[in-house]
């Protein structure tokens, strides 16, 4: 996995470089926004770890130019600004995730892996979570290699939960996701979730319910 690391602080850049290499990534380091933009416009990477406060071109501008060129590679933003407004602006500009400085290496590794997995899954048409695998085009779920007997609607629910692993999915979002041929109400969603939950419980996987918020499939599934 090739990663472009854009960070201007020499001490942080050097530790990050070392840490990411230890994680098994091939790292290229750039300490200037303009330079990073130039590199990104000619070379291919699997992901970018991008600091926002950069000399030359700001991180936000590098990100905007990257997306303008149509590049879809995942971008993880490192920011020292924790104002809600800055986070929202970063995500709106096309970032896939952000980490607030200072951060844990573990957290960085987990987020980066999640981003890379998601991108690969999107390209391959497969979703993965622990022992669960979902073939999106064939509409078929597997536990390890064994096919799971799920209805089309149950596959739809599982698809959305797996694509937002570790995040809350509301009933409203599920209803919208399922309503492709016909309108599905939130009561019907509850029924499908209930059935799917029973089938997954049988194989030791739990769908969590958060009252008033929705459902969630945990990140670290067995």
């Amino acid at each position: 996995m090739r990663i472009l690391l854009v960070e201007d602080d020499p001490a942080l850049a050097s530790s990050l470089n070392q840490g990411l290499r230890q994680m098994g990534f091939a790292v290229e380091l750039s300490q200037d926004g303009g330079e990073a933009d130039a590199i990104l416009s000619v070379r291919k990477f699997d992901a970018v770890v991008l600091d926002l406060g950069l000399p030359g071109l700001s991180g936000m501008e590098v990100l905007k130019r990257l997306r303008k060129r149509g590049a879809t590679l995942p971008v993880l933003i490192l920011t020292a600004r924790d104002a809600m407004a800055d986070k929202v602006a970063g995500l709106n500009a096309g970032a896939d995730d952000y980490l607030l400085k200072p951060f844990d290496f573990q957290e960085l590794e987990a987020r980066l892996n999640a981003l890379l997995r998601r991108t690969q899954a999107e390209r391959s048409g497969w979703l993965e979570a622990g022992r669960l695998r979902l073939d999106r085009s064939a509409r078929q779920a597997f536990l390890d290699l064994a096919p799971l007997p799920l209805s089309a609607r149950e596959v739809g629910v599982l698809e959305l939960l797996m694509s937002r692993l570790g995040r809350v999915v509301s009933k409203e979002q599920l209803a919208e996701h399922l309503s492709q041929d016909e309108e599905i109400g939130e009561n019907a969603v509850e029924v499908y979730v209930h059935r799917l939950r029973k089938k997954l419980e049988a194989v030791g996987i739990e769908i969590r319910t958060l009252r008033g918020l929705g459902y969630l499939l945990e990140k670290d599934l067995p």
């Binding site: 001490a11 530790s15 924790d82 809600m84 918020l213 929705g214």
Partner: protein, 468 residues
């Protein structure tokens, strides 16, 4: 009422109007008085001429017969001389030797006796039985040699007709005069209003400005008198804008300058920890990491607090649905709650609850409440986010079943750097101060109370409702 700063208030319009009218009104009154006297004078003169004609008619009746002066006045002439529909008429004729020839001696003689015969009558004011009377006196020369050969003829009349005519003329003049005064006052006030219009337009332009819009105010047309005022105001707005920008930049820069070195320190410590084999080295590196975490949390909270304060007036509020906002924030925090084994729930009493506010600040406030609740709760506890409203205000609360705080600590929770005595949980004591600051910026308040059944803590944000 006093204006901002306690200055005495006055109306420019009223001032202009009063100055103009103080000058114009006496002018009008003087004109009226002049008109009255002119009218009075000409009416008097006209009636005096007819009075004189009566005196001449009497004179025609005086004859000298056999050296004696006689007056032959037939009854019909007498009737005519004394008849008038309104006024009472008098006459008196006195011979050369002072003997009465005709008429009544009620009519008093002139104050200065006439000695030289005149071609025309003279006039004076007198009284008969307390009534004012106007008299024409005419000294008729009989053409004799005797110095006393003159006959004095007096013709008088009461003044009813004259007074009535003067009154009528004045009455006829008064209405048009009053109309002229009215029109004039209206014209003046219209003119004043027109001249003050640019001030109104400027006021409107300023009041319609949002607090974030600090561009100079432009006016299509502006009088020379107001232009310097506008220039100064625009200069002030530019300065305030620059100040605001620099404080925002300072906060962003400070965040960057403080956090990046911390991040480097932390990354290096973690790298060292990975390769460290010696247990005591590992323990001290872990201690260092937890100090770094506390430090970065404190920096974050300090920046959030100063951001909440500096945004107090500069933020442009928008109508937003508190239910949606709270649901989104709660969903963001759900993974951490699950990780800690805490049951996080969301409960909205209404589909939508509209308030006016700044989305990011309110999200930050709720994040602080949730962070607090999750910090102090233990596995198995529950945290509930509740959004609702009553007739007056919207409320957003986070209630937990955690350890709670004592009754007398509740109010102090919002004080900066306040920590409940004996607490073992890490924190810097700024979270709730930030929440309170944000609530107050939105014209609301934050309160803390014991949770349901006296267990846990319930912190709520109360905000004014808006109609949408």
């Amino acid at each position: 009422m006093t204006a901002a700063g306690g200055a005495k208030r006055y109306s420019l319009r009223r001032l202009l109007l009063s100055r103009l009218l103080v000058f114009l009104l006496p002018l009008v009154v003087l004109t009226l008085i002049g008109a009255f006297f002119a009218t009075y004078h000409y009416i008097n003169e006209a009636f005096d001429r007819s009075l004189a004609r009566r005196a001449y008619a009497l004179a025609d009746q005086v004859e000298v017969r056999d050296g004696r002066v006689e007056m032959d006045l037939p009854q019909s002439a007498h009737d005519i001389l004394e008849f008038d529909p309104t006024d009472v008429l008098y006459y008196r004729v006195i011979g050369p030797n002072g003997e009465p020839l005709a008429g009544t001696d009620d009519l008093l003689l002139p104050a200065e006796s006439l000695t030289q015969p005149t071609r025309k009558a003279t006039f004076y004011d007198s009284e008969v039985e307390g009534e004012p009377v106007r008299v024409a006196a005419y000294l008729l020369s009989l053409g004799g040699t005797s110095a006393n050969g003159n006959v004095l003829i007096l013709a008088g009349e009461t003044r009813d007709k004259r007074s009535r005519l003067v009154e009528e003329v004045i009455a006829a003049m008064l209405l048009p005069m009053l109309m002229v005064i009215g029109l004039m006052a209206y014209g003046v006030s219209l003119g004043v209003d027109m001249s003050l219009k640019p001030i109104q337009a400027l006021r409107k332009a300023i009041s319609e400005r949002s607090p974030q819009d600090l561009r100079p105010i432009g006016m299509p047309a502006i009088p020379n008198e107001i232009e310097p005022l506008l220039t100064e105001m625009n200069r002030l707005m530019t300065d305030v804008g620059a100040l605001h920008d620099s404080s925002r930049h300072f906060l962003a820069d400070a965040a960057h300058q403080l956090r990046t070195p911390l991040a480097a320190l932390k990354a290096q410590t973690e790298l060292t920890l990975r390769s460290a084999r010696d247990e005591s080295t590992r323990a001290s590196l872990k201690g260092l990491l937890s100090t770094l975490d506390r430090q970065s949390h404190l920096i974050g909270q300090l920046l959030a607090l100063s951001r909440a304060e500096s945004a107090a007036k500069a933020v442009e509020f928008q109508p937003l649905d508190l239910v949606q906002l709270a649901r989104d924030v709660a969903a963001d925090w759900a993974p951490r709650a699950l990780e800690q084994g805490i049951d996080l729930a969301f409960d909205a009493g209404h589909d939508k609850v509209w308030v006016r506010g700044d989305r990011n600040s309110l999200m930050e406030a709720l994040s602080n409440l949730l962070d607090n609740a999750l910090r102090y709760c233990r596995p198995g506890d529950s945290v509930t986010v509740v959004v609702g409203r009553d007739e007056r205000e919207a409320h957003l609360s986070v209630a937990d079943t955690g350890p709670g705080v004592g009754e007398n600590e509740l109010d102090k929770l919002f004080n900066r750097f306040y920590r409940v005595p004996g607490t073992q949980i890490e924190g810097c004591g700024l979270g709730l101060a930030i929440v309170k600051q944000i609530a107050q910026t939105h014209g609301g308040d934050a309160r803390a109370q014991a949770g349901r059944d006296g267990h846990g803590l319930d912190v709520s944000l109360h905000l004014p409702l808006t109609e949408t």
